[in-house]
Symmetry: C2
Subunit: 442 residues, 2 copies
Amino acid sequence: MSIVDIIEKKKYGNHLTEEEIKNIVFGYTDGKIPDYQMSAFLMAVWFKGMDENELAIFTKAMIDSGKTIDLSRIEGIKVDKHSSGGVADTVTIPLIPIVASLGVPACKMSGRGLGHTGGTIDKLESIPGFRTEISIEEFVNIVNRIKGAIISQSNELVPADKKIYALRDVTSTVDSIPLIASSIMSKKIAAGTDAIVLDVKVGNGAFMQDLDSALKLATAMVNIGQSLNRNTVAYITDMNQPLGNAIGNSIEIIEAIDILKGNGSQRLFEVIETLGAEMLRLGGVVDTMEEGKALVKKAIKDGSALKKFEEIIEAQGGNKEIIYNTSLLPQAKFKKDVIAAQSGYINRIDAKGLGKLAQFLGAGRERKDEVIDLSVGLFFNKKIGDKVEKGEPIGTILANDATKLEEALNRVMKLFEVVETPTSPPPLIYYRVSKEGVQKLF
Amino acid sequence: MSIVDIIEKKKYGNHLTEEEIKNIVFGYTDGKIPDYQMSAFLMAVWFKGMDENELAIFTKAMIDSGKTIDLSRIEGIKVDKHSSGGVADTVTIPLIPIVASLGVPACKMSGRGLGHTGGTIDKLESIPGFRTEISIEEFVNIVNRIKGAIISQSNELVPADKKIYALRDVTSTVDSIPLIASSIMSKKIAAGTDAIVLDVKVGNGAFMQDLDSALKLATAMVNIGQSLNRNTVAYITDMNQPLGNAIGNSIEIIEAIDILKGNGSQRLFEVIETLGAEMLRLGGVVDTMEEGKALVKKAIKDGSALKKFEEIIEAQGGNKEIIYNTSLLPQAKFKKDVIAAQSGYINRIDAKGLGKLAQFLGAGRERKDEVIDLSVGLFFNKKIGDKVEKGEPIGTILANDATKLEEALNRVMKLFEVVETPTSPPPLIYYRVSKEGVQKLF
């Protein structure tokens, strides 16, 4: 069957065979199918989607387009975690040491960020000396020795995704649930772990703006994982306000340390507690979520999680002293408080707006080749439902440019809506999606 | 607005502005917009369509991408005609001399054929010496002198359509009503006549398979014409069986001559009569279709239409003797009768199948660079509703290759369905679509 016929079939919503899907994925990766046919195909997928079976085959073909990582030398059930991305989403950095300290091999491969702040890899590079470009051999050795590591995702995985993603970006086919699901899952599966926990963010600061889309994405990813023999569980969590208190890079490292010390944002902790318990369950350490959550709390309380973070930093060449002296992290020249302009209750926070403000200060990049300013960012200690008094400091802006600082101060208050009558916070964890089905949690 | 944003807007079914449409058409023609963005845009149009206003602007932008023809030196209201293409669709060749003989400047620019048989230009090239590559200046002079000419469409018209059509062909975006309508109408309008008569074929031998699609296409084209100040009328006519009796090139010239002599297929004549009457009405020669039809019949009866064909052949350098001695046209080596295998009534004819059989014999081309065999083809004197007797000859196959002739004889009878009980022919003319609306005619 010719490529035009495959496009035609998808355009009319007909089921594609395994051979047809492989033809299009391998043909495109090999350069036999030109961009203009692939973009027409992707637009047809945008309109007609892919069913469960097509999507599993499509994802498998993407994985098979390149190398995969063999983690079989690591003992135990290896677990990975992925977030669909949000603002003040400081989950991974404390989560990996917590889980590792409890005996689950936490094999985390992360990316750099595009957009409002850096990715986990950028944030970790705030730690002087911390190496993220580590060979798979060394990665395996570290995880076997101390149970956890966070490294930069190999560029050799899933070349099909790289090529397809670059094309989607310029043809308005990014926002397609099957294409997002296959892009994420192909990389997670190629990375070689046995189980995967997914954190699908929903709300004004997330890619998925509504619960329905988030549920569809979570379901698609869980189905792909299960079809390709990876035990996969997804949580849909709130992103209608920043999750933690810090938005930036080094200041998110500080909040990660706070969490490991039993402090930090309560909402951020609750997401870490749930995802951590799930990773412990998938890793075979506990049977129930309740046991898992109790262990997470214990690991923080007895200091073993913080100790594990120290070990990970050391194993990856970083200066572990930052844990006890955060002034060793990159520091911004200017710090200025954000002062509440009126009294009342916070009713709405424009999370994406805050993320963009952090990017404006230099904390994020628009293009891959831009350099991030690791020291700048925003910090807020108020969330939706909180009371504020006129004149009260509700946060801090960290900047290296006085003009940008002033502009940020002018823009920031428009991103908070304060009302006179008491308000309540949005739910935090909406759904758990697993092979057993969808469980409502709010 | 960036091209990605324009694709996004169309993808969500939002109305594009004039500036956005011009950006995409001119940007693509100039090479500033790459194929992969245009193909994503075209696929979004396939799904979301274009409204009347967008389509008129899109067509105008396509016209403005290249040169247009100035026919102002021709006196009178100039009328053109276009058919969406079918099998045994021998309308243009007799129609132009009929209309010209009655005083309407019939300025016909035709294309070569792709598919089952040649186009009008290929068919005319069966006439020894006939020139179709004629300059606009000479074309204007001929029409001013004898009121009619049929020339090959200039390659300089509507470069945007050439580029877009080539891309549609390889990205499964050919079968989109707004894209078909704008492709046809941009060329017709750029060709410079004042009025246009469209023949939209519907049925198993046509591009449009159902009445609903044909009506949509006709309406879209009439709306474009009216929006761009061309008086446009479309007829939807039947293509559930070959229209005329001859399928090929030189044998269609013979049927054209038959029609001008008052013979030939009755159904073919009726379509010519209707389209001719409409051209006379649009050309201001008559006020009503009835008067127009009477004049068409008169022009045939008194021989003036045949005389006009002679003049046109002579003006374009052809040998007018072919009118009286058709053996001067290319002749096939083998002729063999098709014999009815059973008695009964013809219930169904696979018109597209017959077209493909003619192509198999050499009468049509698959690729632009293939050479057509002008002498071969098929001839049938039976239509749906006709009675046939077992053993009776119902047609003839003309071939230059004995093996192909035998295979064609084997395949041909499967394309006719003969039943025992009497059948009736399908309607011939379904609708007339004009600025006044849709008129049902069956």
